[in-house]
Amino acid sequence: MKAIIAATIFGILMMFASILMKDKKAMANLAIASLLVLFGINIWDLISTPAGSSQAYFNNMLSISYYGQMFNTLMTGCTLLYALLVSKEIQRVGAHVAEYFALIFFILCGVYLLSGYNNLLMLFIGIEIMSIPQYILAGSDKRNLKSSEAALKYFLMGSFSTGILLMGITLLYGATGTFSIAGLAFLQSGTISMMAVAGILFVMMALAFKVSAAPMHMWTPDVYDGAPTPFTAYMATVVKAAAFVAFLHLFTYSFGNVSHTWLLVLSVITALTLFVGNVTAVFQQSVKRMLAYSSIAQAGFMLFAVLASNTMAAQQGMIIYAVAYSVATIGIFAVLMKMKDYTYDGFNGLAQKEPLLAFVATIFILSLAGIPLTGGFMAKYYVVMAAVQTGQLMWLVIFGLLMAAISVYYYFRVIIAMYFKQGNAELSSPVTSGDKFMLILTCLLVILLGIAPQLFLVNI
């Protein structure tokens, strides 16, 4: 709870900073310092929450569990890492640096609500608090037509999906007379009404939109491609992970008993997401757009956790996946932002010019592709294990793994370009020793996740 308040205060502080401060760099530094404090507050919250317990607020509308708090802490850590890696690029996006950071603090506030909501209204509020700043960030490069297009598209589609979410919540309320997560858990397979089923499916569609699962993924490539790259990196990682945790929370604690109503639909969505994400990514020429599709593909794997929500491995897998995927994606975006040309050819010969940059990029890509010794492998491992443990999703597991093999094709094209092709990869800005330090740190984090994932795990 302290973290939610702190995030809001820091957000407001950053807004005032934009009036009071002139120097962009100072604003960024203030934001990073605030994030550091916020991270500290989260750790404080984490320590003061005993494992397995949860604390309720606002008439039990919000109940922050140890699991949720762990997630918050890790996501704040990822945000801090993100800010340290790309603060220079954020300063280059436009004039309103402090506002950008203010929006990021508000997004974090939404993330905290989503990891601990205990009521469908809180879910709705959390999603809105998280989404609206994103619409603004997507359009923050005002002179760029593509950025404005991305913002408008995201806003229109996003509001539409929010409408569907509200519709679903309404139907559920009509069927059960309650908004609370625990109240909905009384839905039983024998007595469930048609209205409740419709509500569940509506909510599922809306959440699938937020996590960019097919067929609700259409906005993703355009928005990710159009938005300024630093903000794409954030949208694709922390925000998406938070939406997933909300998804998992709802389907574990509210709809777990009636899984027969949604399991098949969600399995098909998962298969479709994996297929569309991976196959379309193969045909991309721009690395940024490829990463947009790859984020759809990764979402397919995270959906495994939702499908297997009743298992411990799913809950643990979601955290590991969220962290491993976020860290690796933030890393690869940080490398991408150093490049002048975002196409594959733009990476040609990077290993000769900047061996360190190429090396860390390789580690991030190996992690995204799920190669052992990196966090990405452990993440995929946990969610796949969860799906296997349910005992009825073996077909989906094998399909997913075959799709993962396809993903090697487009991920390794970057490695091939960097190491094995001749060319003159041009950088947009020089790599300073500070950048190098942060990149190596990120890289070590990826490997640590792959070797000792238990450090990031909680038992629930």
Partner: protein, 480 residues
């Protein structure tokens, strides 16, 4: 601890080699591989009578442990790895490679992966090392390989990666069936596998076997192999063909036969038939090759086919033969590749139609070629003989009703093997001598490398008992 050192030394030396950024990496690689050889030899002595094992918890929440175990089969393959790597480094000592630090760094990492595969006694750890061995090879081939290296290596990588992922699904499935704290330990996996009903074993069999079939490779999963061998730089080809294909066979013996007995029983005839098709098909293709590297590549498919056929024949002597032959084939094929690379370095071509007259230009090299070739076609008094003899014996005693047919057709492989090998010897060592007289004979380091190989060939050909004793216990466990 000793077992951990075996993996740790090449791993750390490999990482260190990357950071050195100087020619000294070569020396470091040699030193590290010799130290590894020493420790492996020590471990082999320790494990000669009773298996040595080492285990600490790794990811407790999953039930995965860092457990290593060295029995006769593991130590034998570790010994093979530990011998081949320094020999490769010694014979390539004078060759300049671009960025030697990364080259030798990757070599050592790959060695660490291989040793890890042979030693791991935990399914998840096994999978980790399985991939660790693959990734460096991908970089080695793509960076230092021939003209078509990028697409070829990529095909190889995707092929093996698909296999690995299917195996991963199989491992997870088996682990999800276990009970108790060590879900991934060999014992738990084995019990879980054995407890499965027969129909499920038959399905899980393919999930797991496909990875091994691609790695060995058996027909029809072999198409990556000749291209990759041809395009890779020779040291890497040696790693691939002498060591990495053994990973596939080793994995069958350790992680498949004891784990899914009913699945194996159901599919064994299919696998044997595929292997035998592979033997004949690869031998026939080897006869028409003119490129030395492709010829050796196809001959390797034929030899591996025989071994995999024997692996599924469920006879004690066949199992024992595989263990012996895994070692011997590794040594022989290393010798083969060394000669091929020497030929290529001296005369700038591997095309047999352009070669000839090595016996006059470089007599020592020609003698080495002849001895190694004879070992390759399993002439008595060479190491190849005893292994191949046991393999045929095993196939003959197999449980299948068609065992005699199998043996007869597989036996064709020996005759065809003699055809292509002797033909190769004739065309490279003898015949037209016009262009080849200028070349130098063996240099000191090449001489040393080949001397080690030929020494092993002859010693084990005459006195194979140590090798047989070392692995006898394991064969009895696999086929009681």
């Amino acid at each position: 601890m000793m077992l951990t050192l075996i993996i740790l030394i090449p791993l750390l030396a490999g990482i260190f080699a990357f950071m050195m950024k100087s020619e000294g990496a070569k020396g470091l690689a040699l030193a590290s591989s010799l130290i590894t050889l020493g420790i492996v030899a020590w471990a082999s002595c320790e494990a000669y009578n009773a298996p040595v094992s080492f285990s600490i918890p790794w990811i407790p929440s999953l039930g995965a442990g860092f457990s290593l175990m060295a029995d006769g089969m593991s130590t034998m393959l570790c010994l093979l790895t530990a011998i081949v790597v320094p020999v490769v480094i010694i014979t390539n000592w004078n060759k300049t490679v671009d960025k030697p630090w990364s080259f030798y760094g990757f070599m050592l990492l790959s060695q660490a992966g291989l040793l890890g595969v042979f030693l791991s006694y935990d399914a998840l750890l096994f999978y980790f090392f399985w991939e660790l061995a693959l990734i460096p090879v991908y970089f080695l081939c793509s960076r230092w390989g021939g003209e078509k290296r990028i697409p070829v290596t990529f095909k190889f990588f995707v092929y093996t990666f698909v296999g690995s992922l299917m195996m991963l699904a199989g491992i997870i499935y088996l682990a999800s069936q276990t009970s108790g704290p060590d879900a991934y330990s060999w014992n738990s996996i084995m019990q879980a596998g054995r407890a499965l009903p027969a129909e499920q074993q038959q399905i899980v069999f393919w999930l797991i076997f496909i990875a091994f079939a691609i790695k060995m490779p058996i027909f029809p999963f072999h198409t990556w192999q000749p291209d990759t061998y041809e395009q890779s730089p020779t040291p890497v080809t040696i790693i691939l063909s002498a060591l990495m294909v053994k990973m596939g066979l080793f994995a069958v013996l350790r992680w498949l036969l004891p784990v899914l007995p009913q699945g194996v029983a159901f599919w064994s005839n299919t696998v044997i038939i595929l292997s035998i098709i592979g033997i004949v098909y690869a031998s026939l293709l080897a006869i028409v090759q003119t490129d030395l590297k492709r010829l050796v590549a196809y001959s390797s498919i034929a030899h591996m086919g025989l071994m995999s056929a024997a692996a599924f024949s469920s006879s004690n002597v066949g199992m024992h033969g595989i263990m012996v032959q895994m070692f011997n084939h590794g040594i022989n094929i290393t010798g083969m590749w060394l000669i091929v690379s020497m030929v290529e370095n001296r005369w700038g071509t591997r095309d047999m139609t352009k070669l000839g007259g090595m016996a006059t230009a470089a007599p020592k090299m020609a003698i080495a070629l002849v001895i190694i070739s004879l070992a390759n076609i399993a002439l008595p008094l060479t190491n190849g003989f005893i292994g191949e003899f046991m393999l045929f014996n095993g196939l003959f005693q197999g449980a299948s009703p068609y065992h005699i047919t199998f043996m007869v057709i597989a036996g064709l492989g020996v005759i065809l093997g003699a055809v292509y090998t002797l033909n190769m010897v004739q065309r490279t060592a003898y015949g037209n001598t016009t262009d080849m007289v200028i070349a130098k004979d063996l240099t000191a380091n090449e001489y040393l490398g080949l001397f080690i190989i030929i020494g092993i060939i002859l010693i084990l050909g005459v006195y194979p008992k140590p090798l047989l004793d070392m692995t006898a216990g394991i064969a009895r466990v696999l086929v009681p």
